[in-house]
């Protein structure tokens, strides 16, 4: 078999994280290779390396027997690697034909003008490959989501007749937006495609991966941990490999897990936002850490943002501390006592130009006001107290928030909500992008908050983290709560149970 694409001993680091650690994979001609792994396992970094968005720190990327340093997706495309993006790159203001050949109109130019007839005819040929019977002059804004995905695939396939050498197509979660009928069609196309291209298929849905691919790689913690021919693979084993090592109870401070109070801090009923989550109901008690697990697109991020007032729900009731509240904007959530620690800390968490104490008092409303002016003494005192209490490492409380490390920024954001007096905390990936030492400190702080009787809604980075920290876990799938697990110390659910409820 001829290898058409290979990553050899590839490593890639970002500040604080080793995203890829000595990864080697290869794809043979006319082979369909599956790639699976949990969120954060390194799949998307690997994809971005192969499509030229990122470059390897160490190791080699070999395409069609040549070692390359791809500079951009276009560069990758010109070398025969086409990516079908998860977030679609089809532009709604252009026609199907224009989208397929965007940036490559050269071949249709006549006297400097685009020959539309010829371009549309060529597009029709490409559409035929994906069995899409549409007029290439249709604007893609008028297509369904699934059809747009097919156009995207047709665009990738248009490489086929245009370059020398092999074509490699990367499909990133292509089925997540498709109807069953379209999924079947896609699989038929993949089978057909195999005759002339090699395919890397990434999906959360293991059954689908096994159905279409010849061979599967499992990734975890930035490494390839398992490789198996699909014919020999068992779903249960794959789950095991995705999960990996046993938990260390002390790492997540399980000894500090407290039994939840009877007191309900947050009660949600029938909460719905079309296309994101549906009929969500749960209660959050004082002292409870309620984890929400789910894959990307399960609706858990949208739910967290909804409760923070950032993306209002269409229907449903929210009660905070027994009183019914309307949460359509962040100030209503804040007033109700809900604090939100966002996953994008630098966008929605920390204000870079404000100093530590200013950041800490940002949500505190009138607490530091006297006669309409800022009471600097009181503010300074409170900030100093919280810097000490949370162990924020900063030269001074006058240091701009933007110049702290990720972990310390996170502590400042936490302090902001503690000072504002929030008793419900929504933690959206609170340890994302912070280094290992700081992670443990954040775990400690989460335990502190629970011990003080706050209610915590946790969207964790990994399954390990959600199990280790939570006292109860909701699993979301396709916008609904699919299962609830009690997670008392000593009787925590297994990761594999969660995964089976997630996918």
């Amino acid at each position: 078999m001829t290898t058409v694409l290979e990553v050899r001993n590839g490593s890639k680091s970002f500040p604080g994280v080793k995203a890829l650690d000595d990864v080697s994979i290869e794809i043979a001609r006319n082979e369909v290779v599956g790639l699976i792994g949990e969120n954060g396992a390194g799949k998307s970094t690997l994809l971005k390396i192969i499509t030229g968005i990122y470059q390897l720190d160490e190791g080699e990327l070999i395409v069609n027997s040549r070692t390359l340093a791809l500079k951009s997706p276009r560069d990758a495309f010109d070398h025969g690697v086409a990516m079908v993006f998860q977030e679609q790159s089809v532009l709604p203001t252009l026609t199907i034909a224009e989208n397929i050949f965007l940036g490559r109109e050269q071949e249709f130019l006549r006297f400097g003008l685009i020959d539309r007839k010829r371009m549309n005819a060529a597009a029709r040929d490409e559409l035929a490959k994906v069995h899409l019977d549409l007029d290439p002059a249709t604007r893609t804004a008028d297509l369904t989501f699934g059809q747009r995905q097919m156009v995207e695939i047709a665009k990738a396939l248009s490489l086929d007749s245009r370059i020398e050498g092999e074509v490699i197509i990367l499909l990133d979660e292509p089925t997540s937006v498709l109807e069953q009928r379209e999924i079947d069609l896609l699989f038929a196309i993949i089978a057909d495609l195999k005759q002339r291209a090699s395919i890397l298929f990434i999906s959360h849905r293991l059954d689908e991966v096994l159905r279409v691919s010849d061979r599967v790689y499992v990734m975890r913690d930035g490494r390839v941990v398992h490789e198996v021919a699909s014919a020999d693979a068992k779903i249960h084993d794959l789950h095991q490999h995705m999960v990996g090592r046993q938990l260390d109870h002390r790492y997540y401070r399980e000894q500090r897990q407290v039994a939840a109070d009877e007191r309900v801090l947050l009660k949600v009923e029938g909460l719905t936002r079309t296309g994101a989550f549906n009929d969500i109901a749960f209660k959050l008690h004082a002292g409870e850490i309620l984890g929400i697990a789910g894959v990307v697109g399960s609706g858990r991020e949208a739910l967290a943002r909804c409760l923070a007032g950032l993306e209002p729900a269409e229907s449903g009731d929210i009660e905070v501390g027994g009183a019914s509240v309307r949460i359509a904007a962040p100030h209503q959530a804040v007033a109700a006592g809900i604090g939100f620690v966002p996953s994008e800390r630098k966008v929605e968490g920390i204000v870079a130009a404000l100093d530590v104490s200013e950041n800490m008092s940002l949500a505190a409303k009138d607490r530091f006001l006297r006669h309409g002016l800022i009471d600097f003494a009181a503010e300074r005192e409170t900030a100093t107290t919280w810097v000490r209490r949370l162990g924020v490492k900063t030269p001074s409380i006058r240091t701009p928030g933007g110049s702290l490390s990720g972990g310390n920024q996170q502590k400042v954001v936490l302090a902001k909500w503690r000072i504002a007096g929030s008793d419900v905390m929504i933690l959206d990936h609170p340890t994302r992008g912070i280094d290992v030492g700081a992670k443990e400190e954040v775990y400690e702080l989460i335990r502190d908050m629970a011990a003080e009787g706050l209610g915590i809604l946790l969207l964790a980075d990994t399954l390990e983290e959600v199990i280790g920290l939570s006292s109860r876990i909701l699993v979301m799938k396709d916008g609904r709560i699919s299962r609830t697990f009690e997670a008392p110390v000593g009787a925590k659910p297994e990761q594999i149970d969660l995964i089976e409820a997630m996918v």
């Binding site: 962040p330 100030h331 204000v351 130009a353 404000l354 309409g372 800022i374 933007g402 504002a420």
Partner: protein, 312 residues
Amino acid sequence: MPAWLKDQLPLIVLLLLVLLVSLSDSGFMAPGNLLVVTADTMTLFLMASGVTFVIMTGGIDLSIQAVASMTSCIVAALLPSLGFAAVPAALLSGAVFGLANGVVTTRLRIPSFVATLAVSGVATSVAYLVSDARSVLIAAADRDAYLGWAVGEIGPVQNEILVGLFVLVGLTLAAGLTPFGRFVRAIGSQERAVIASGIHADRIKIQAFVISGTLAGLAGVVMAGRLGSGSPTLANEFLLPAIACIIVGGTAITGGVGSVWRTFIGALIIAVVRIGMTFIGVSVFAQQIVFGLILVAAVAITMDRSKVATVK
């Protein structure tokens, strides 16, 4: 360039320019002349002072010259009948147009450079209506009675300077001591984090526009007093220098950093550059070219590019 140097650059540039001009013109450093120069700069500073807040939030107000012209007409037209009350009336009309700017850009979600451009059209129309498309003269008696606070003198010091200092101190205190000032900085730095913290960012932005409109209005009143008339085109040619002195002072067009004090320095820089150019014989008309280029250069230097993914 080290951070402290970049921070103090406007002041250093100002001092160097003053030195340069005084070397070639020995009369420049005379106390009397310095006062005159400062007094002449104050209308420009007043126009730019309020916009500073708008720019610090990351927006812009292109309506200031139209608003200033309008209030010059309003104050000139109303002085004979209302007396001193014409002054607050003019300031109020400036505030109303500032409010319109703020509401249009935040509630209707129109980028501020277009919103304020559109509102300035309305302001100009009002100016023409009020003035009947002519210069409105202010009687000397009215001027002395009601605008003396702006154009008179106390001892050797022109009142424009006092008005300017009053605004400078007032706005600096507002920026430093009130939540408003802090939120303005915060919005310019990271608006989404401010909103997520439960703060009504839109209200703060509207307040900034109101301050900008009011102070443009004040600038119009002072100009009317100095020139003895109001006219719908009185403040034309002031927009560019006003924006330029904010940016030259070191307030970034991308928002988040800046101060009214910097704008004050910036206004003096522009004034000294203008004097220097006049001295070496650059025509008044050609100075506009230089200001255009200074503006572009200053934007390029002060802008924080890490904050914008795509520059449009």
